[in-house]
Amino acid sequence: MTPLLGVLVSEAWVFYPLAVLTVGGALAMLLSRNPIYAAMSLVLTFFGLAGLYVLLSAELIAALQIIVYAGAIMVLFLFVVMLLNLGDADLEMPRLSVGTIVGGGSALAFWCVSWMVFQHLPEAMPATLPEGFGQVASVGRLLFTQFILPFEATSILLLAAIVGAVVVAKAKI
C-alpha cells in the first residue's frame, strides 16, 4: 500500500502550507489577548494537524483529532470562557517583563537545540507501507489485542474524570 496523498500530488505541496497554517494558528493562540480568539486559533491548528495526520497515513487518528479535539475539547474551552464571563478589564495587557523574555527565549532555545538534533536523523520515509496502515480495522485490532490493558484502564480514567469534574465544579453536593 502506498501512502494516500503521496501518489496524487507531491507530498511537499501539502505539507508546507499545512505547516505554515499550524504554526500560524499556534502563534495566534499565543499572542491574542482574548481567550475566545485564542481558542478559535487553536481550532485552526487542530484542523491543520488533522491534515498532517492524513498525510502520515493515520486516517483513524485524524478523524479522532477532529471529533475529540476540534469538536469536544475546544467546545468545552469555549463553554468555560463564556461561563466565566471575563470583562474587558480582566483581559491581560501585553507587557515585556523579565519573565516574558526568559520564557520566550527558553522556548526558542528548545526549538533550536531540537533542530540541531534532528539534522542527524536518516532522511527518507519508506515508500510503501503495510496493507491497511493506520485505518480503523488494523489500529482497532492492535488496541484490542496488544493494548487491551491500557485501553480498559483508559475507560476507568474517563469515568474517574467525569465524576471528578462534577465533584470539583459543583457548588453544593
Partner: protein, 102 residues
C-alpha cells in the same frame, strides 16, 4: 516526486511544542495556559505518528489514541478546577492564585 523528510515533521512538532511551552511560561490567563498544554500534547502526538510512518509500525497510532483520551480527561478536570477557583477568587490569572506558594 518530492517527499518530506522525517526531520521536517519533527521540526514542526518541536516548533508547536515550543509555542505551547511559551504559552505556559509567558501567559497569565489560566485558560491560555491550558491551551498551551493541549498544544504540547498535540506536538507529542505528531512526533509519535511521524515515527510510526517512518518505521511502518502502528504502535505509535495506539499511543496517540491514548494521548487523546488522557488529554480529554485532563481538559475536563482542569476546566472544572478553573471554575472552582473562579468561584472562590473571582480571577483565573495564575499569578494571583498563589496561596500554595508561601
Amino acid at each position: 516526486m518530492a517527499t518530506v523528510p522525517l526531520a521536517h515533521y519533527l521540526a514542526l512538532a518541536s516548533a508547536l511544542f515550543a509555542v505551547g511551552l511559551a504559552a505556559v511560561l509567558v501567559r497569565r490567563s489560566a485558560l491560555v495556559v491550558f491551551m498551551g498544554v493541549e498544544l504540547m500534547l498535540n506536538a507529542a502526538n505528531l512526533t509519535f505518528l511521524s515515527f510510526s510512518r517512518a518505521h511502518g509500525a502502528q504502535e505509535g497510532h495506539a499511543i496517540a489514541f491514548f494521548v487523546i483520551a488522557v488529554a480529554a480527561a485532563e481538559a475536563a478536570i482542569g476546566l472544572a478546577i478553573m471554575i472552582a477557583v473562579f468561584r472562590s477568587r473571582k480571577t483565573v490569572n495564575v499569578d494571583e492564585v498563589d496561596a500554595l506558594k508561601y
